[in-house]
């Protein structure tokens, strides 16, 4: 039995610590040194785990086994869709969005009606959820004081009321400490992250205590449970509940985004998009850790207390207490308190912003009272409204708790709230990705979905608590059977949550799409649709300013800002804005569309986009642009973008073409130069024999008395020079034919060995005459190749005659080897002549280049043999090259690919 004073003191100390953290966070934020890191952001998302998780998971596990996990698997999967969340954050930042109601309203033309509807749905859906937190704290106090099931009174006041009061005070101090309503709540986020750590530690501590302290570990707990037939069922999944499993995952996946508190911490309080990269795994890891001991604790509780052993929702407290571990029980109590306070603080801040901006402000703006207060500062009023709203929400929660008590309505309330906020999904996701979605569609979808939710889930839960007549659940409305609330149109066999989700989503999505397709957006809506859907593209060029035309007065807008933001902050923002436009004093800014847009966005941060819109239009004389004109402007913007993209593509194509042309030109010039070289070389080569023929002929012509011997010698030279000339001209023609591709080829199967042997025989006399030894080595069983026999012969003869030219008489030797190299046939002609330098190896394949020194030696060939040979070999798909070193002879090698059909040998 713990002393009441001690528990109160401990709780107060804990709350004090939280407050200190929040103050520290706010102070650091004011100083511009934010303490919100990626880890803090990731942990703050764990505000998802409320006391419903902390206490309720064990309770759910005792009846549904592992199905409680769906509530945490859905968020894991949803967070992985980072693209969707980043888009949301980007939009929210661009539009200064402060709540989910604002988000939806802003997308559909800053509609006050839509904002109000979303707020009402959120409040109706969430208040019971807040009541659940109060109940959890009350129940844990009752267990701690060993008076389960009774209301604890402290100083004569109901303790739950006291808890609600403290929470309200705390939230007011926390969330609305600043007199300026637009700032983020960095202190609150830091405190929530701290609370997440506390509740995780507390739960893991009790998990370890039960699993390893009271039992012998996981295996022991599971084995003992399996011994009880009624518990063994909890350790299996019932495949008949496959549909419920899937709808829970979907529902919780949507809840992680659409619960007002989740939207607040995930989107509104996000300071840096990159933090999401940490959160995407840190938060699921947190969920995994806090759930790993749930089933062992549930089973441990059932085993320990037996079937009638009290409330399974408080096993985490009663199990340690039953073992006398009071300090652990206190830690668990603090953990549960953390879970409850974290949820209540963030949720009420989010809801109070929505209530203030989207329900109270629109009413106030219309009231005479506000219009009379033309010049006064209203930022204090805003804070005041929010504080009252916070107190009111907690009061509502308390009243609900009192009314519902232990009734059914409180047990399933977590999921009922999830189903309520899931109704935001079609309008919100549709608005982010579908430009055609209209305000009328969103309104219709929300209304239909909400009504179905009300009829199939909330009202039946009231009926089960006995507050209203349950005949509409049992027999259908007005006794019409197919209107039975939880078997609508006869759809039975589903659990109530799946049933509601199925029908409400059908109604919601159906109405949203059908009405959207049959309605036309107004000008403002069309503009907002563009900004939301194309938020990533609008990052730089904003057509915003073009979508507004009219007359505005700088001073009136500035006054408006001062009224709602407070004079100090307004001046700060104006000065900041002036700097971005490179003006030293904001008073010298033009009151143009851009300034109006700035003022409206700033106001939207304070009072919501719908109210901001209303306020700005009240002080400006706006021209109505009309839908057509707005669509034109947007189309134009799209077209300009498309054009500029096209232009960019064309420019790139042009650059590529230019580069290609330059290259081609380069090649042409090279060819031109080569042609010039060729002609001059050819003329030179032709002139040499011609000169000698002419000289000798002239000598014979001029001097008839030349001796017969001399005359014979001269005529011999003339004949050989003429032959040389003929050969030269033939080869030039041959070369030209080969190069132009007009040469005639008769391709057939050729035995290279035969060709080489024949060439050796043909040149035999020449070799013998010079006394050069010729050896021919042809491998056995060579396959045939596809080639032109005469051309191949030409190549071999050319190589052999070259070789004999360059070796020394008598001592020279030339060896020819024909062998197979994989799928090539290789012929090498090696001589023991003077060899070639590395430089010569490259140039001898150029036209009219010859081995040896052409300046001093008599040319021994035409200089076209090797280039022609190379052309021929390359035509057959082979290669011709030389391997040589000065003084070590030269080896000319050529290859010819084997015919494809050649057998492997």
């Amino acid at each position: 039995m713990l002393s009441g004073w001690f528990v109160v003191l401990l709780s107060a100390t804990y709350v004090g610590v939280l407050f200190a953290i929040a103050r520290f966070g706010d102070a650091r934020a004011d100083a511009g040194r934010s303490i919100i890191t990626a880890n803090v952001y990731g942990l703050s998302l764990a505000v998802y785990c409320t006391s419903w998780t902390f206490f309720g998971s064990v309770g759910r596990a005792t009846s549904g086994g592992l199905s409680f996990l769906t509530i945490y698997l859905g968020p894991t999967l949803m967070l992985l869709c980072v693209g969707v969340i980043i888009k949301m954050i980007r939009i929210a930042k661009a539009q200064r969005i402060t709540s989910i109601a604002d988000f939806i309203a802003s997308r559909y033309g800053k509609s006050q009606l839509l904002a109000g509807l979303v707020t009402v749905i959120a409040v109706i859906g969430i208040v019971p959820y807040i009541a659940l937190q109060l109940k959890a704290v009350a129940a844990s106090l009752a267990v701690l004081f060993d008076q389960p099931g009774r209301t604890i009174h402290l100083w004569g006041v109901d303790s739950t009321f006291l808890v609600a009061g403290v929470l309200a005070l705390f939230t007011i101090l926390f969330g609305t400490r600043h007199l300026d309503a637009t700032e983020r709540h960095e202190g609150m986020v830091a405190a929530v992250a701290f609370e997440s750590v506390v509740k995780l530690l507390a739960f893991v501590a009790v998990g370890v205590f039960v699993t390893y302290g009271m039992y012998g570990g996981f295996v022991d707990v599971f084995q003992r449970a399996l011994a009880h037939p009624e518990l063994a069922g909890l350790l299996q999944l019932d495949s008949s509940r496959a549909g419920a499993w899937a709808s829970m995952i979907l529902l919780s996946g949507l809840a992680i985004v659409f619960l007002p508190r989740q939207f607040q911490v995930m989107v509104v309080e996000n300071v840096d998009e990159s933090h999401l990269k940490r959160a995407v795994w840190l938060f699921p890891l947190y969920l995994l850790l806090i759930n790993i001991f749930v089933l062992p604790v549930a089973l441990g509780g059932l085993l320990h207390f037996g079937a009638q052993g009290g409330n399974p929702d408080t096993f985490v407290l009663t199990l340690p207490l039953s073992q006398g571990a009071e300090s652990l029980a206190l830690l668990v109590f603090i953990g549960g308190l953390s879970a409850a306070t974290g949820m209540v603080i963030v949720e009420t801040i989010a809801l109070s912003t929505m209530i203030c901006n989207d329900l109270v402000m629109p009413a106030l703006l219309r009231s005479r009272w506000l219009q009379r207060q033309q010049q006064s500062d209203l930022s204090g009023l805003l804070i005041g409204i929010r504080r009252v709203a916070i107190a009111l929400i907690l009061l509502l929660g308390y009243i609900y708790f009192k009314a519902a008590g232990e009734a059914y309505a409180l047990v399933g309330i977590g999921l009922i709230s999830f189903a309520a906020v899931a109704q935001f999904a079609p309008a919100l996701f549709g608005g982010m990705y579908w430009k055609q979605g209209t305000r009328a569609g969103a309104l219709a979808g929300l209304l239909c979905g909400f009504s179905v939710w009300l009829y199939t889930l909330l009202l039946p839960s009231f009926a089960k608590s006995g507050w209203i007549d349950s005949s509409f659940v049992e027999h259908g409305l007005f006794g019409i059977d197919w209107l039975r609330a939880q078997a609508l149109f006869g759809l039975s066999g589903l659990d109530e949550i799946s049933h509601c989700l199925w029908w409400s989503m059908l109604a919601n999505i159906g109405a949203y799409i059908a009405v959207s397709l049959h309605s036309r957006p107004d000008a403002l809506e069309a503009g907002q649709a563009e900004r939301f859907v194309d938020v990533f593209r609008h990052a730089q060029r904003v057509p915003d300013s073009r979508l507004w035309r009219g007359n505005a007065s700088l001073s009136e807008l500035a006054t408006l800002l001062e009224r709602f933001l407070g004079p100090q902050r307004a001046r700060q923002q104006l000065a900041g804005y002036a700097r971005t436009r490179r003006v030293s004093d904001w008073r010298s800014l033009p009151a143009d569309a851009e300034f109006v847009h700035f003022a409206e966005t700033e106001l939207a941060g304070a009072i919501g986009s719908a109210s901001a819109r209303a306020m700005v239009s009240s002080v400006t004389r706006e021209e109505d642009l009309g839908l057509e004109e707005v669509l034109d402007i947007l189309d134009e913007a799209t077209q300009v973008r498309a054009h500029s993209r096209e232009l960019e593509a064309k420019q790139q194509a042009l650059e590529a073409a230019t580069a290609e042309l330059r290259e081609a030109n380069e090649r042409l010039r090279e060819l031109d130069r080569m042609k010039d070289d060729f002609i001059s070389t050819v003329t030179h080569e032709l002139r040499t024999p011609l000169t000698s023929i002419r000289a000798l002929s002239e000598m014979l012509f001029d001097d008839p008395k030349v001796e017969l011997e001399q005359r014979r010698r001269f005529l011999g030279i003339i004949v050989s020079e003429t032959e040389r000339l003929t050969r030269l001209i033939n080869q030039i023609l041959d070369m030209a034919k080969l190069e132009s591709g007009r040469a005639e080829w008769t391709t057939g199967e050729v035995n290279v060995g035969d060709v080489v042997r024949e060439a050796g025989e043909a040149l035999g006399p020449l070799y013998r005459e010079k006394g050069v030894h010729l050896s021919i080595d042809i491998a056995e069983g060579l396959p045939v190749v596809l080639a032109d026999r005469d051309r191949l012969m030409q190549v071999v003869v050319n190589l052999l005659s070259n070789a004999v030219k360059f070796v020394a008489p008598a001592s020279g030797s030339v060896s020819v080897v024909v062998a197979r190299e994989k799928n090539l046939l290789q012929v090498s002609v090696a001589d023991n002549g003077p060899g070639l330098t590395a430089e010569e190896c490259g140039v001898i394949f150029e036209k009219f280049r010859q081995g040896g020194n052409t300046m001093t030696d008599k040319p021994q060939g035409t200089g076209l043999g090797l280039p022609i040979s190379r052309q021929i070999v390359e035509y057959f798909g082979g290669k011709l090259w030389v391997e040589s070193a000065p003084g070590a002879g030269a080896t000319f090698i050529f290859t010819v690919p084997l015919a494809k059909a050649a057998p492997e040998a």
Binding site: L235, I292, F536
Partner: protein
Amino acid sequence: MKRLSPVRQRLGALALFGVPLLSFPVLGLPQGEVAGIPAIFLYLFGVWGVLILLAARVAERQGK
């Protein structure tokens, strides 16, 4: 046109991969016990843990 971030696409693919693994009929497969612990318990936490591990690797690698 700006290309979609590969990190976002990889994480999205993980989500698409996780959905069938964490719903029926695949969930009906693990039966009985492994080392004294119900197979379905190990399976659920195992798949969940692996998804988290992969997400961490994808998300954090880009940060460096």
